[in-house]
Amino acid sequence: MTETANWLWWIPALPLFGSALCGALHFTILRRRRMGASADQHSSISAWVAVSMMAIAFMFSIRAFLALRSGTQFGLESLESQAWSWIDAGSLDVQVSMVLDRLSSVMTLVVTGVGFLIHVYAAGYMKGDPGYAKFFAYLNLFVAMMLMLVLSSSLVGLFVGWEGVGLCSYLLIGFWYTKGWPAEAAQKAFVVNRIGDAFFLLGMFLLVRVFGTLDMSDIGASVARMSAQQGGTLALSALLLFGGACGKSAQLPLFVWLPDAMAGPTPVSALIHAATMVTSGIYLIVRLNPLFAAAPTVLFFIGTVGALTAAIAGSTAIVQRDLKKVLAYSTVSQLGYMFLALGAGAWVSAIFHLVTHAFFKALLFLGAGSVIHGMHEEQDMHRMGGLRKHMPRTFLTFTAGAAALSGLPLLSGFFSKDEILAQTMARGGGYWVLWAIGVMTAMMTAYYSWRAVSLTFFGEERFDVNEVHPHESGHLMTTPLFILAALSIFAGAFGLPEVFHVAHAFKDWLDPVVAPGNAILFDGHAPHLTHATEWLLLGFGAAIALGFAHLGFHGHRNGTGTDERLIAEEPAAARFLTDAWGIDRAYNRLIVQPLKVLSYLIAVVVDQFAIDGVVNGAGSGARSLGTRLRRMADGSIATYGLWMGGVSVGLTLVWMWIGAAA
């Protein structure tokens, strides 16, 4: 049962308001700068505004969570708040309303909580940038849109938020557009996203046709009824929605925008491309779990795509030199893990991994940002080394994040990843292959995480000590790092496996939300692993993580030697991996170049020659006709008379002829 809570609107409204305020501040700053006055105060005000909006929103999220928790004893499932009826056309009725159930409360907490920490960090990171206030305006706007996405009760509202975060991603990736390539990266992100959005829209159209409504809870409730006759259409719409998720969550083949998106400021990468926006696809699928559960084939497809993406991205991350690119491909890879979980029907595990990943990936990005800042915008790991002496706090927290990512035992990443792999294996059949791919990816993950740590913080200093003076970052930046590190280390407590004989907090919390899907998919026979198998898997996972972490760490302890040997001995393989298996190049050859040719064709041939020719030709034709006709009026009476006489004779002839015919 649900309860009305109109204060829910504060959650997205506050960041929205903060965005507007920061925007106004930005224009004020511009004006003052043009007049030559100082605008530092305004800049810091904007930071305070943005951060405090996030803090308050976070508190509201906590309130919502607590309200839900205390209400469970009364059977409270969700809080809702209806605003107005947006589209009321025939049988379609779209409401603007929010619904906060257990799933969205988790998401809201992550978005506002991690978002808050990142805002704080950004206040320090972006200091000195002329677009300081604009940055916070965009950042707050993004959070507002993401919250709309997560809290909306209707697919339409979700789509609005979906598009909104896409827009903010574009704005933020291209924040430093004057440099040139960020603008291209932003455009690429937007265009690839758009492709996904097209699929999303098609899926929505199908859903409207089948269900007559786009309210997600209504759809979820009606799936079981409809899946008998409309199975095919439902599966198709699920597939299309997954297509949309691929675009937003950077799965194969629409992941190409994420590595390029590293052109944006690092807090952006942390917030948008690690913790929140890219997780929208997973949220969408979990939210509509009955729909997807009714199409097991689609689910297997999703799992396959996720596994393959994870493997490809993981392999690419191994050979990257740019620290942020490693993290970008790692994000794609981990997102693949989440989709693998969804494919196996392990909805809760996907969300669990989403949360832990948000913690440690945001931490890693922020840490990378700290490193880059301290190295004066150097991002190439081959030019770093031995930084743990210069940046101890960054080093500690970054390592914690890497440890969590690689799945070292008892850290959060260990539990969430293991759960996914266990659930995948439990499904059996074709899922064994996916499990194997997942295990391979885990090896790669451990390897590249510790490679990054080793190259960056250990070994000799591969930079000119006289030129570059790496320094630790300020408290504004390091405090969030520590908080996130603590979360990355201890968040596993929320998802301890059964065999520990402790409650799995996540599963208990989210079970009611995914129960319908589970009912459709498993029909009471949920796949189950024996305790022995579970312990085995836990040990296996720990062994892999430790083993490959060791390999990765020590393999690069002495600097760039290993990398250079790879390039020297296997140049083709090295290039193949570095270019993400050539997918970007394939895109270029298959789509971009033909499009350019087609565009040229249309612009020059069709537009210039044909259309302009016709239009201009009509004009010049009219003019020449006019010139010729003008000679009729030459001022001489006889000419006029001749025309009159001649035409009257002609007309008379015509009339006589007509008269004769009639």
């Binding site: 006889a638 000419t639 001749l642 006489g645 001649g646 008379t652 006589m656």
Partner: protein, 187 residues
């Protein structure tokens, strides 16, 4: 008898019309046209339209032709010098040829039209008395055709005014041009 007179009058009309077009001296042209009008008036009379015949003489021959003659005399176009000034009194260019072509076409058309129409006979009693009795004409004119009548009178008034304006000599002294002197053509 009346028929014969008609054909004579018709012949005279055509001949004098040709004279208008062909004669070099404008004064002769005017006189020729005068003769044409007289013969046309004769034709009207023969057809029994006495009033129209009278009007034809009074207005056309008596007023319009007199006007033409006045202007010709005024502009001294009758003297040999003036006549020679307009050299080639008949245009020889392509325009003229086209003009003849048009005239011939019209002639042919009207002949074809006249000959191919089937007319019933004319009432023989018509030629005796006036076929346009003035009382009847007046009755029609002032009742059914009162609007065109009034319009025509307004037109005549406008013409009177307009002609006076058009032909007025500008007495305002014009410093630069010395053309407007008392020489040739002054009223």
């Amino acid at each position: 008898m009346a028929d014969f007179l008609f054909y004579v009058a018709a012949l005279v009309a055509v001949l004098t019309a040709l004279g208008v077009v062909a004669l070099k001296n404008p004064v002769m042209s005017v006189t020729s046209l005068l003769g044409c009008f007289f013969s046309v008036s004769m034709i009207y009379l023969l057809a029994g339209f006495q009033f129209i015949a009278a009007i034809q003489i009074m207005v056309y021959a008596g007023a319009i032709m007199v006007l033409f003659l006045f202007v010709v005399m005024l502009l001294n176009l009758g003297t040999d010098e003036m006549t020679d000034q307009v050299e080639q009194h008949i245009g020889k260019g392509a325009r003229a040829k086209a003009g003849i072509g048009v005239a011939l076409a019209m002639l042919v058309l009207s002949l074809v039209a006249a000959l191919s129409t089937r007319f019933d006979g004319v009432d023989p009693g018509l030629a005796e008395n006036g076929n346009d009795p003035v009382p009847a004409l007046a009755g029609e004119m002032f009742t059914r055709y009162s609007l065109p009548f009034e319009a025509a009178s307004v037109l005549l008034l406008a013409t009177a005014v307009g002609v006076m304006v058009l032909a007025k000599r500008h007495r305002s002294p014009r410093p630069a041009s010395g053309a407007n002197r008392e020489t040739g053509g002054a009223a």
